[in-house]
Protein backbone atom coordinates (compact mmCIF):
# COMPACT_ATOMS: atom_id res chain seq x y z
CA UNK A 1 0.00 0.00 0.00
CA UNK A 2 3.07 2.18 -0.46
CA UNK A 3 2.52 5.39 -2.40
CA UNK A 4 -1.16 5.54 -1.56
CA UNK A 5 -3.05 7.41 1.09
CA UNK A 6 -2.25 5.83 4.42
CA UNK A 7 -4.81 4.11 6.61
CA UNK A 8 -4.31 3.24 10.24
CA UNK A 9 -5.33 0.93 13.02
CA UNK A 10 -6.18 3.45 15.71
CA UNK A 11 -7.92 1.24 18.23
CA UNK A 12 -7.50 -2.36 19.37
CA UNK A 13 -9.14 -4.20 22.23
CA UNK A 14 -9.04 -7.81 23.36
CA UNK A 15 -11.74 -8.90 25.74
CA UNK A 16 -10.06 -9.95 29.00
CA UNK A 17 -12.42 -12.85 29.61
CA UNK A 18 -11.76 -16.38 28.47
CA UNK A 19 -14.99 -17.78 29.87
CA UNK A 20 -18.24 -15.85 29.82
CA UNK A 21 -21.05 -18.09 31.11
CA UNK A 22 -23.21 -15.15 32.13
CA UNK A 23 -22.95 -12.99 29.04
CA UNK A 24 -24.53 -13.07 25.62
CA UNK A 25 -22.48 -13.14 22.43
CA UNK A 26 -23.95 -9.80 21.39
CA UNK A 27 -22.96 -8.33 24.73
CA UNK A 28 -19.38 -9.41 24.06
CA UNK A 29 -19.51 -7.81 20.60
CA UNK A 30 -20.68 -4.60 22.22
CA UNK A 31 -18.03 -4.70 24.93
CA UNK A 32 -15.16 -5.19 22.48
CA UNK A 33 -16.55 -2.50 20.16
CA UNK A 34 -16.72 -0.09 23.08
CA UNK A 35 -13.23 -1.05 24.18
CA UNK A 36 -11.65 -0.53 20.77
CA UNK A 37 -13.43 2.79 20.23
CA UNK A 38 -12.31 4.02 23.66
CA UNK A 39 -8.77 2.92 22.81
CA UNK A 40 -8.90 5.06 19.65
CA UNK A 41 -10.53 7.99 21.39
CA UNK A 42 -13.59 7.74 19.18
CA UNK A 43 -17.28 7.11 19.81
CA UNK A 44 -19.95 4.86 18.40
CA UNK A 45 -21.32 7.76 16.36
CA UNK A 46 -18.01 8.12 14.52
CA UNK A 47 -18.27 4.62 13.04
CA UNK A 48 -19.48 4.34 9.45
CA UNK A 49 -17.87 1.08 8.37
CA UNK A 50 -18.84 -2.27 9.91
CA UNK A 51 -16.75 -5.41 9.35
CA UNK A 52 -17.65 -8.68 10.98
CA UNK A 53 -18.05 -12.40 10.36
CA UNK A 54 -19.63 -15.40 11.86
CA UNK A 55 -21.84 -14.73 14.83
CA UNK A 56 -22.23 -18.44 15.54
CA UNK A 57 -25.69 -18.28 17.06
CA UNK A 58 -27.09 -16.53 14.02
CA UNK A 59 -27.12 -17.22 10.33
CA UNK A 60 -23.59 -16.23 9.41
CA UNK A 61 -24.45 -14.05 6.44
CA UNK A 62 -26.73 -11.95 8.56
CA UNK A 63 -24.09 -11.13 11.18
CA UNK A 64 -23.79 -7.45 10.26
CA UNK A 65 -27.55 -7.01 10.55
CA UNK A 66 -27.77 -8.38 14.06
CA UNK A 67 -24.67 -6.49 15.12
CA UNK A 68 -25.74 -3.14 13.64
CA UNK A 69 -29.14 -3.65 15.21
CA UNK A 70 -27.76 -4.53 18.64
CA UNK A 71 -25.20 -1.72 18.66
CA UNK A 72 -27.64 0.83 17.24
CA UNK A 73 -25.11 1.61 14.56
CA UNK A 74 -25.47 3.31 11.20
CA UNK A 75 -23.02 2.16 8.52
CA UNK A 76 -22.31 3.37 5.01
CA UNK A 77 -20.18 0.31 4.29
CA UNK A 78 -20.50 -3.30 5.42
CA UNK A 79 -18.25 -6.29 4.82
CA UNK A 80 -18.94 -9.76 6.14
CA UNK A 81 -16.28 -11.78 4.38
CA UNK A 82 -16.09 -15.06 6.25
CA UNK A 83 -12.84 -16.99 5.91
CA UNK A 84 -13.13 -18.61 9.31
CA UNK A 85 -10.39 -17.47 11.64
CA UNK A 86 -8.51 -15.54 8.97
CA UNK A 87 -11.52 -13.25 8.40
CA UNK A 88 -10.42 -10.53 10.77
CA UNK A 89 -6.99 -10.22 9.16
CA UNK A 90 -8.72 -9.96 5.78
CA UNK A 91 -11.10 -7.34 7.21
CA UNK A 92 -8.12 -5.10 7.98
CA UNK A 93 -7.22 -5.07 4.29
CA UNK A 94 -10.83 -4.66 3.22
CA UNK A 95 -11.31 -1.75 5.62
CA UNK A 96 -8.22 -0.03 4.22
CA UNK A 97 -9.64 -0.37 0.70
CA UNK A 98 -13.00 1.03 1.78
CA UNK A 99 -11.33 3.95 3.56
CA UNK A 100 -9.14 4.73 0.54
CA UNK A 101 -12.20 4.71 -1.69
CA UNK A 102 -14.05 7.12 0.55
CA UNK A 103 -16.71 4.58 1.49
CA UNK A 104 -16.08 5.08 5.19
CA UNK A 105 -13.49 6.76 7.40
CA UNK A 106 -13.92 4.95 10.70
CA UNK A 107 -14.19 1.18 10.33
CA UNK A 108 -15.06 -1.13 13.20
CA UNK A 109 -14.06 -4.82 13.03
CA UNK A 110 -15.54 -7.10 15.67
CA UNK A 111 -15.34 -10.71 16.78
CA UNK A 112 -17.04 -12.40 19.72
CA UNK A 113 -18.24 -15.83 20.68
CA UNK A 114 -18.80 -18.24 23.54
CA UNK A 115 -17.76 -21.73 22.40
CA UNK A 116 -16.36 -22.56 25.85
CA UNK A 117 -19.53 -21.70 27.70
CA UNK A 118 -21.61 -23.43 25.05
CA UNK A 119 -19.64 -26.61 25.67
CA UNK A 120 -18.26 -26.92 22.17
CA UNK A 121 -15.47 -29.45 21.98
CA UNK A 122 -13.59 -27.78 19.17
CA UNK A 123 -11.38 -29.84 17.00
CA UNK A 124 -12.18 -33.39 18.03
CA UNK A 125 -15.91 -33.45 17.40
CA UNK A 126 -17.55 -35.31 14.54
CA UNK A 127 -19.65 -32.89 12.55
CA UNK A 128 -22.97 -33.04 10.83
CA UNK A 129 -22.84 -33.63 7.08
CA UNK A 130 -24.13 -30.42 5.55
CA UNK A 131 -22.32 -29.73 2.30
CA UNK A 132 -21.17 -31.60 -0.81
CA UNK A 133 -17.63 -31.46 0.58
CA UNK A 134 -18.76 -32.88 3.94
CA UNK A 135 -20.09 -35.89 2.06
CA UNK A 136 -16.57 -36.68 0.92
CA UNK A 137 -14.78 -35.69 4.13
CA UNK A 138 -16.83 -35.47 7.31
CA UNK A 139 -18.49 -38.84 6.70
CA UNK A 140 -15.06 -40.32 7.42
CA UNK A 141 -14.85 -38.69 10.81
CA UNK A 142 -12.49 -36.01 9.54
CA UNK A 143 -12.31 -33.64 12.48
CA UNK A 144 -10.29 -30.47 12.63
CA UNK A 145 -7.52 -32.22 14.52
CA UNK A 146 -7.31 -35.25 12.23
CA UNK A 147 -7.06 -32.91 9.26
CA UNK A 148 -4.20 -30.92 10.78
CA UNK A 149 -2.78 -34.26 11.90
CA UNK A 150 -2.64 -35.32 8.25
CA UNK A 151 -0.78 -32.12 7.43
CA UNK A 152 1.71 -32.78 10.20
CA UNK A 153 2.19 -36.41 9.18
CA UNK A 154 2.93 -35.52 5.59
CA UNK A 155 5.28 -32.71 6.61
CA UNK A 156 7.16 -35.18 8.80
CA UNK A 157 7.29 -37.67 5.94
CA UNK A 158 8.57 -35.23 3.34
CA UNK A 159 10.91 -33.14 5.43
CA UNK A 160 11.82 -35.15 8.50
CA UNK A 161 10.05 -32.74 10.82
CA UNK A 162 9.72 -34.13 14.34
CA UNK A 163 7.17 -33.91 17.14
CA UNK A 164 9.89 -32.29 19.24
CA UNK A 165 10.28 -29.52 16.68
CA UNK A 166 6.54 -28.88 16.62
CA UNK A 167 6.65 -28.79 20.42
CA UNK A 168 9.15 -25.88 20.29
CA UNK A 169 6.29 -23.74 19.00
CA UNK A 170 4.16 -24.49 22.05
CA UNK A 171 7.15 -23.96 24.32
CA UNK A 172 7.73 -20.46 22.91
CA UNK A 173 4.05 -19.56 23.25
CA UNK A 174 4.01 -20.78 26.84
CA UNK A 175 7.12 -18.78 27.70
CA UNK A 176 5.24 -15.69 26.54
CA UNK A 177 1.94 -16.64 28.19
CA UNK A 178 3.52 -16.68 31.66
CA UNK A 179 3.65 -12.87 31.45
CA UNK A 180 0.03 -12.50 30.33
CA UNK A 181 -2.31 -12.35 33.32
CA UNK A 182 -5.28 -13.08 31.06
CA UNK A 183 -3.80 -16.17 29.36
CA UNK A 184 -5.73 -19.40 29.86
CA UNK A 185 -2.54 -21.41 30.35
CA UNK A 186 0.20 -19.43 32.10
CA UNK A 187 2.62 -22.18 33.12
CA UNK A 188 5.66 -22.64 30.86
CA UNK A 189 5.91 -26.09 29.32
CA UNK A 190 8.86 -28.08 28.00
CA UNK A 191 9.29 -30.03 24.80
CA UNK A 192 8.88 -33.19 26.88
CA UNK A 193 5.61 -31.91 28.35
CA UNK A 194 4.22 -31.49 24.83
CA UNK A 195 5.35 -34.79 23.33
CA UNK A 196 4.30 -36.68 26.46
CA UNK A 197 0.84 -35.14 26.51
CA UNK A 198 -2.06 -37.29 25.36
CA UNK A 199 -2.25 -38.01 21.64
CA UNK A 200 -5.52 -36.66 20.28
CA UNK A 201 -4.99 -37.40 16.59
CA UNK A 202 -1.59 -38.72 15.56
CA UNK A 203 0.87 -37.12 15.35
CA UNK A 204 -0.72 -34.22 17.25
CA UNK A 205 -0.81 -34.18 21.04
CA UNK A 206 -3.14 -32.27 23.31
CA UNK A 207 -0.52 -29.54 23.76
CA UNK A 208 -0.16 -29.15 19.98
CA UNK A 209 -3.72 -27.77 20.02
CA UNK A 210 -5.03 -24.32 20.86
CA UNK A 211 -7.33 -23.42 23.71
CA UNK A 212 -11.12 -23.10 23.49
CA UNK A 213 -12.14 -19.73 24.85
CA UNK A 214 -15.02 -17.31 25.04
CA UNK A 215 -14.42 -13.66 24.41
CA UNK A 216 -13.58 -11.54 21.45
CA UNK A 217 -11.77 -8.52 20.14
CA UNK A 218 -12.20 -5.46 18.00
CA UNK A 219 -10.21 -3.08 15.85
CA UNK A 220 -10.85 0.47 14.68
CA UNK A 221 -9.33 1.59 11.38
CA UNK A 222 -9.28 5.24 10.34
CA UNK A 223 -8.43 7.48 7.42
CA UNK A 224 -5.57 9.98 7.40
CA UNK A 225 -8.00 12.83 8.18
CA UNK A 226 -9.43 11.08 11.21
CA UNK A 227 -5.96 10.04 12.27
CA UNK A 228 -4.95 13.71 12.50
CA UNK A 229 -7.84 14.43 14.83
CA UNK A 230 -7.15 11.77 17.44
CA UNK A 231 -4.56 11.78 20.17
CA UNK A 232 -3.48 8.17 20.11
CA UNK A 233 -0.54 6.30 18.66
CA UNK A 234 -1.72 4.50 15.54
CA UNK A 235 -0.29 1.72 13.39
CA UNK A 236 -0.08 2.05 9.63
CA UNK A 237 -1.33 -0.77 7.45
CA UNK A 238 1.49 -1.21 4.93
CA UNK A 239 0.33 -4.25 3.01
CA UNK A 240 -2.41 -6.85 2.83
CA UNK A 241 -2.84 -10.09 0.92
CA UNK A 242 -5.26 -12.96 1.01
CA UNK A 243 -5.87 -16.25 -0.77
CA UNK A 244 -8.37 -19.05 -0.56
CA UNK A 245 -6.66 -22.42 -0.89
CA UNK A 246 -8.43 -25.71 -1.47
CA UNK A 247 -8.50 -29.39 -2.34
CA UNK A 248 -7.61 -28.53 -5.93
CA UNK A 249 -9.68 -31.31 -7.51
CA UNK A 250 -7.62 -33.94 -5.73
CA UNK A 251 -4.13 -32.43 -6.13
CA UNK A 252 -3.97 -30.96 -2.63
CA UNK A 253 -0.53 -30.66 -1.04
CA UNK A 254 -1.17 -30.57 2.70
CA UNK A 255 2.33 -29.27 3.41
CA UNK A 256 1.62 -25.97 1.67
CA UNK A 257 -0.80 -23.20 2.61
CA UNK A 258 -2.35 -20.09 1.14
CA UNK A 259 0.28 -18.11 3.04
CA UNK A 260 2.53 -18.58 0.02
CA UNK A 261 0.23 -16.27 -1.94
CA UNK A 262 -1.21 -14.07 0.80
CA UNK A 263 2.25 -13.37 2.21
CA UNK A 264 3.75 -12.60 -1.17
CA UNK A 265 0.90 -10.18 -1.92
CA UNK A 266 1.16 -8.46 1.46
CA UNK A 267 4.93 -8.08 1.18
CA UNK A 268 4.68 -6.77 -2.39
CA UNK A 269 2.14 -4.16 -1.38
CA UNK A 270 4.29 -3.09 1.58
CA UNK A 271 7.45 -3.06 -0.52
CA UNK A 272 9.05 -5.17 2.19
CA UNK A 273 10.11 -8.77 2.71
CA UNK A 274 10.31 -11.36 5.48
CA UNK A 275 13.74 -10.03 6.46
CA UNK A 276 12.11 -6.71 7.43
CA UNK A 277 9.74 -8.24 9.98
CA UNK A 278 10.66 -7.55 13.61
CA UNK A 279 7.69 -9.32 15.15
CA UNK A 280 5.18 -11.87 13.76
CA UNK A 281 1.73 -12.89 14.96
CA UNK A 282 1.02 -16.22 13.27
CA UNK A 283 -2.25 -18.08 13.59
CA UNK A 284 -1.67 -21.05 15.84
CA UNK A 285 -4.73 -23.28 15.81
CA UNK A 286 -2.17 -26.09 16.00
CA UNK A 287 1.61 -26.15 16.12
CA UNK A 288 1.75 -27.42 12.53
CA UNK A 289 -0.30 -24.40 11.40
CA UNK A 290 2.54 -22.16 12.58
CA UNK A 291 5.29 -24.29 11.10
CA UNK A 292 3.80 -24.33 7.63
CA UNK A 293 2.95 -20.62 7.73
CA UNK A 294 6.51 -19.71 8.76
CA UNK A 295 7.83 -21.55 5.71
CA UNK A 296 5.18 -20.26 3.33
CA UNK A 297 5.61 -16.65 4.45
CA UNK A 298 9.28 -16.97 3.53
CA UNK A 299 10.91 -16.82 6.96
CA UNK A 300 12.81 -19.97 6.00
CA UNK A 301 12.99 -22.40 3.09
CA UNK A 302 10.17 -24.91 2.54
CA UNK A 303 10.79 -27.94 4.70
CA UNK A 304 13.24 -26.20 7.03
CA UNK A 305 10.62 -24.94 9.49
CA UNK A 306 11.45 -27.68 11.98
CA UNK A 307 15.07 -26.62 12.28
CA UNK A 308 14.10 -22.95 12.14
CA UNK A 309 11.94 -23.09 15.28
CA UNK A 310 14.58 -24.90 17.34
CA UNK A 311 16.80 -23.01 19.77
CA UNK A 312 14.37 -20.31 20.81
CA UNK A 313 13.96 -18.58 17.42
CA UNK A 314 10.35 -17.73 18.22
CA UNK A 315 10.92 -16.59 21.80
CA UNK A 316 10.74 -12.92 22.70
CA UNK A 317 12.53 -10.75 23.27
CA UNK A 318 15.78 -12.27 21.99
CA UNK A 319 14.78 -14.78 19.31
CA UNK A 320 15.28 -13.98 15.63
CA UNK A 321 11.53 -14.14 14.93
CA UNK A 322 9.61 -13.40 18.13
CA UNK A 323 6.03 -14.58 17.64
CA UNK A 324 2.70 -14.58 19.49
CA UNK A 325 3.97 -12.71 22.51
CA UNK A 326 0.56 -12.80 24.18
CA UNK A 327 0.76 -16.60 24.34
CA UNK A 328 -1.29 -16.91 21.16
CA UNK A 329 -4.12 -19.30 20.57
CA UNK A 330 -2.03 -22.15 21.92
CA UNK A 331 -1.87 -20.70 25.44
CA UNK A 332 -3.83 -17.49 25.79
CA UNK A 333 -6.95 -17.02 23.73
CA UNK A 334 -8.75 -18.36 20.68
CA UNK A 335 -11.99 -16.44 21.00
CA UNK A 336 -14.95 -18.04 19.24
CA UNK A 337 -12.57 -20.60 17.69
CA UNK A 338 -11.24 -17.81 15.47
CA UNK A 339 -7.75 -16.54 16.10
CA UNK A 340 -7.18 -13.91 13.43
CA UNK A 341 -8.41 -11.01 15.55
CA UNK A 342 -6.01 -11.57 18.43
CA UNK A 343 -3.16 -11.90 15.92
CA UNK A 344 -3.72 -8.35 14.74
CA UNK A 345 -4.26 -7.01 18.26
CA UNK A 346 -0.94 -8.33 19.59
CA UNK A 347 0.90 -6.98 16.53
CA UNK A 348 -0.61 -3.56 17.28
CA UNK A 349 0.49 -3.83 20.91
CA UNK A 350 4.02 -4.66 19.83
CA UNK A 351 4.24 -1.70 17.46
CA UNK A 352 2.85 0.67 20.08
CA UNK A 353 5.22 -0.64 22.74
CA UNK A 354 2.28 -1.94 24.77
CA UNK A 355 3.07 -5.64 24.87
CA UNK A 356 3.83 -7.17 28.24
CA UNK A 357 7.22 -5.69 29.19
CA UNK A 358 9.00 -9.05 29.44
CA UNK A 359 8.18 -9.83 25.81
CA UNK A 360 8.22 -6.36 24.30
CA UNK A 361 10.27 -6.30 21.11
CA UNK A 362 11.86 -3.24 19.53
CA UNK A 363 9.61 -3.51 16.51
CA UNK A 364 9.17 -1.11 13.59
CA UNK A 365 7.44 -3.58 11.28
CA UNK A 366 5.18 -6.46 12.28
CA UNK A 367 3.23 -9.12 10.43
CA UNK A 368 -0.09 -10.72 11.34
CA UNK A 369 -1.20 -13.86 9.57
CA UNK A 370 -4.47 -15.76 9.73
CA UNK A 371 -5.42 -19.27 8.63
CA UNK A 372 -9.12 -20.13 8.62
CA UNK A 373 -10.72 -23.45 7.85
CA UNK A 374 -8.46 -26.47 7.45
CA UNK A 375 -5.12 -26.69 5.68
CA UNK A 376 -5.96 -30.30 4.81
CA UNK A 377 -9.04 -29.36 2.77
CA UNK A 378 -9.70 -25.68 2.18
CA UNK A 379 -8.73 -22.58 4.04
CA UNK A 380 -8.50 -18.84 3.87
CA UNK A 381 -5.10 -17.26 4.29
CA UNK A 382 -4.78 -13.56 5.08
CA UNK A 383 -1.67 -11.56 5.88
CA UNK A 384 -1.11 -7.94 6.86
CA UNK A 385 2.15 -6.03 7.27
CA UNK A 386 1.92 -3.24 9.81
CA UNK A 387 4.31 -0.40 10.57
CA UNK A 388 5.01 1.86 13.54
CA UNK A 389 4.37 5.48 12.71
CA UNK A 390 7.54 7.48 12.20
CA UNK A 391 9.59 4.29 11.96
Amino acid sequence: MAGREPAYIAGAFEHPTREAPNKSTMQLHAEVAKGALADAGLTKDDVNGLFTAGVPEYRSGLSPLVIADYLGMDASYVDTTDYGGSSYVAHVGHAVSAIRNGKCDVALVTLAGRPRSRGQATGSGAREVRTVQDSFERIYGATNITMYGMAARRHMHEYGTTSEQLAEIRVAASQHAQHNEHAMFQDPVTVADVVESRVVADPLHLLDCCVISDGGGALVLVSEDVREDIDREAVEVLGHGEAPSHHDAGRIDVTRTGAESSGERAFAEAGLGPEDIDYASIYDSFTITVLEAIEDLGFCEKGEGGEFVEGGTLQAPDGDLPFNTDGGGLCSNHPANRGGMTKVIEAVRQLRGEANPEVQVDADVALAHGTGGSIATRHGAATVVLGREGR
Binding site: A121, S124, G125, A126, R127, E128, V129, R130, T131, V132, Q133, D134, S135, F136, E137, R138, I139, Y140, G141, A142, T143, I145, T146, M147, Y148, G149, M150, A151, A152, R153, R154, H157, R198, V199, V200, A201, D202, P203, L204, H247, A249, G250, R251, I252, V254, A376, T377
Partner: protein, 136 residues
Protein backbone atom coordinates in the same frame (compact mmCIF):
# COMPACT_ATOMS: atom_id res chain seq x y z
CA UNK B 1 -27.23 -36.90 12.67
CA UNK B 2 -26.91 -40.60 11.98
CA UNK B 3 -23.59 -42.23 12.86
CA UNK B 4 -24.69 -45.86 12.86
CA UNK B 5 -23.71 -47.81 10.94
CA UNK B 6 -22.09 -44.87 9.10
CA UNK B 7 -22.92 -41.27 8.38
CA UNK B 8 -24.98 -41.01 5.22
CA UNK B 9 -23.66 -38.59 2.63
CA UNK B 10 -25.90 -35.98 1.07
CA UNK B 11 -26.62 -37.40 -2.35
CA UNK B 12 -27.37 -34.86 -5.08
CA UNK B 13 -27.78 -35.08 -8.87
CA UNK B 14 -24.05 -34.49 -9.36
CA UNK B 15 -22.97 -37.23 -6.99
CA UNK B 16 -25.77 -39.81 -7.19
CA UNK B 17 -23.93 -41.98 -9.74
CA UNK B 18 -20.80 -42.02 -7.57
CA UNK B 19 -22.63 -43.32 -4.51
CA UNK B 20 -24.70 -45.82 -6.46
CA UNK B 21 -21.58 -47.19 -8.14
CA UNK B 22 -20.05 -47.58 -4.71
CA UNK B 23 -23.09 -49.61 -3.67
CA UNK B 24 -22.30 -51.88 -6.64
CA UNK B 25 -18.65 -52.18 -5.72
CA UNK B 26 -17.12 -49.65 -8.10
CA UNK B 27 -15.12 -46.54 -7.27
CA UNK B 28 -15.60 -43.82 -9.87
CA UNK B 29 -13.73 -40.62 -10.59
CA UNK B 30 -14.47 -37.86 -13.04
CA UNK B 31 -12.39 -37.31 -16.16
CA UNK B 32 -12.40 -34.35 -18.53
CA UNK B 33 -11.69 -35.45 -22.13
CA UNK B 34 -11.11 -31.83 -23.13
CA UNK B 35 -8.16 -31.11 -20.85
CA UNK B 36 -7.33 -34.54 -19.48
CA UNK B 37 -7.91 -33.79 -15.81
CA UNK B 38 -8.94 -36.75 -13.66
CA UNK B 39 -10.56 -35.31 -10.57
CA UNK B 40 -12.32 -35.91 -7.30
CA UNK B 41 -14.79 -35.14 -5.69
CA UNK B 42 -17.27 -35.42 -8.55
CA UNK B 43 -18.80 -32.30 -10.04
CA UNK B 44 -20.53 -31.66 -13.30
CA UNK B 45 -18.01 -29.32 -14.82
CA UNK B 46 -14.25 -29.62 -14.98
CA UNK B 47 -12.69 -27.42 -12.31
CA UNK B 48 -9.66 -26.78 -14.55
CA UNK B 49 -11.19 -25.88 -17.95
CA UNK B 50 -14.90 -25.52 -17.07
CA UNK B 51 -15.88 -28.03 -19.74
CA UNK B 52 -19.22 -29.71 -19.09
CA UNK B 53 -18.20 -32.58 -21.35
CA UNK B 54 -16.98 -34.65 -18.40
CA UNK B 55 -17.17 -38.42 -18.06
CA UNK B 56 -17.26 -41.00 -15.31
CA UNK B 57 -14.30 -43.33 -15.16
CA UNK B 58 -13.95 -46.57 -13.24
CA UNK B 59 -10.83 -46.83 -11.16
CA UNK B 60 -8.82 -49.87 -10.20
CA UNK B 61 -9.68 -49.02 -6.62
CA UNK B 62 -6.01 -49.07 -5.75
CA UNK B 63 -3.67 -46.43 -4.51
CA UNK B 64 -1.37 -45.49 -1.68
CA UNK B 65 -1.66 -43.59 1.55
CA UNK B 66 -0.66 -39.95 0.96
CA UNK B 67 -1.13 -38.99 4.60
CA UNK B 68 -3.14 -40.10 7.60
CA UNK B 69 -4.01 -39.30 11.17
CA UNK B 70 -5.41 -41.61 13.80
CA UNK B 71 -8.27 -40.15 15.80
CA UNK B 72 -7.94 -41.43 19.37
CA UNK B 73 -10.94 -39.52 20.64
CA UNK B 74 -13.93 -38.07 18.86
CA UNK B 75 -17.14 -36.77 20.37
CA UNK B 76 -20.21 -37.81 18.40
CA UNK B 77 -18.54 -40.88 16.89
CA UNK B 78 -19.16 -44.47 18.06
CA UNK B 79 -16.57 -45.53 20.65
CA UNK B 80 -16.31 -48.92 18.96
CA UNK B 81 -15.04 -47.23 15.78
CA UNK B 82 -12.06 -45.69 17.57
CA UNK B 83 -9.21 -45.38 16.98
CA UNK B 84 -10.14 -44.32 13.47
CA UNK B 85 -7.59 -43.85 10.71
CA UNK B 86 -8.55 -40.83 8.61
CA UNK B 87 -6.43 -40.66 5.48
CA UNK B 88 -5.86 -39.18 2.10
CA UNK B 89 -5.39 -41.97 -0.43
CA UNK B 90 -3.76 -41.09 -3.73
CA UNK B 91 -5.46 -43.24 -6.34
CA UNK B 92 -3.35 -44.78 -9.06
CA UNK B 93 -5.47 -42.66 -11.44
CA UNK B 94 -4.18 -39.50 -9.74
CA UNK B 95 -6.60 -37.76 -7.42
CA UNK B 96 -6.20 -37.77 -3.65
CA UNK B 97 -9.39 -38.56 -1.81
CA UNK B 98 -10.20 -38.45 1.86
CA UNK B 99 -11.22 -41.76 3.35
CA UNK B 100 -10.63 -44.22 6.16
CA UNK B 101 -8.08 -46.98 6.23
CA UNK B 102 -9.61 -50.01 7.89
CA UNK B 103 -6.56 -51.43 9.65
CA UNK B 104 -4.61 -51.40 12.86
CA UNK B 105 -2.99 -47.94 12.94
CA UNK B 106 0.37 -49.66 13.43
CA UNK B 107 -0.01 -51.22 9.97
CA UNK B 108 -0.53 -47.89 8.20
CA UNK B 109 2.22 -45.58 6.93
CA UNK B 110 2.64 -42.95 4.27
CA UNK B 111 3.06 -44.97 1.07
CA UNK B 112 1.16 -48.05 2.26
CA UNK B 113 -0.55 -49.69 -0.72
CA UNK B 114 -4.30 -49.90 -0.24
CA UNK B 115 -7.38 -51.16 -2.03
CA UNK B 116 -10.95 -49.97 -1.84
CA UNK B 117 -13.68 -51.69 0.15
CA UNK B 118 -17.25 -50.57 0.59
CA UNK B 119 -19.17 -49.98 3.77
CA UNK B 120 -22.96 -50.00 3.89
CA UNK B 121 -25.02 -47.11 5.11
CA UNK B 122 -28.62 -47.02 6.25
CA UNK B 123 -29.53 -46.15 2.67
CA UNK B 124 -29.27 -49.36 0.66
CA UNK B 125 -28.55 -47.39 -2.53
CA UNK B 126 -25.52 -45.75 -0.99
CA UNK B 127 -22.21 -47.27 0.14
CA UNK B 128 -19.07 -45.56 1.26
CA UNK B 129 -15.61 -46.31 -0.10
CA UNK B 130 -12.93 -46.97 2.48
CA UNK B 131 -9.56 -48.66 1.99
CA UNK B 132 -7.54 -51.49 3.46
CA UNK B 133 -3.85 -52.39 3.11
CA UNK B 134 -3.11 -54.81 0.31
CA UNK B 135 -0.09 -56.80 -0.85
CA UNK B 136 0.98 -55.50 -4.24
Amino acid sequence: MTWEPRPVPEVNPETERYWQAAASGDLLVRECPDCGLVYHYPRSLCPDCFSENVEWRETTGRGEVYSYSTARTMSGWPEDDLPLVVAYVELDEGPRLMTNVDADPEDVAVGTRVEVQFVDTEDEDVSIPVFAPVED
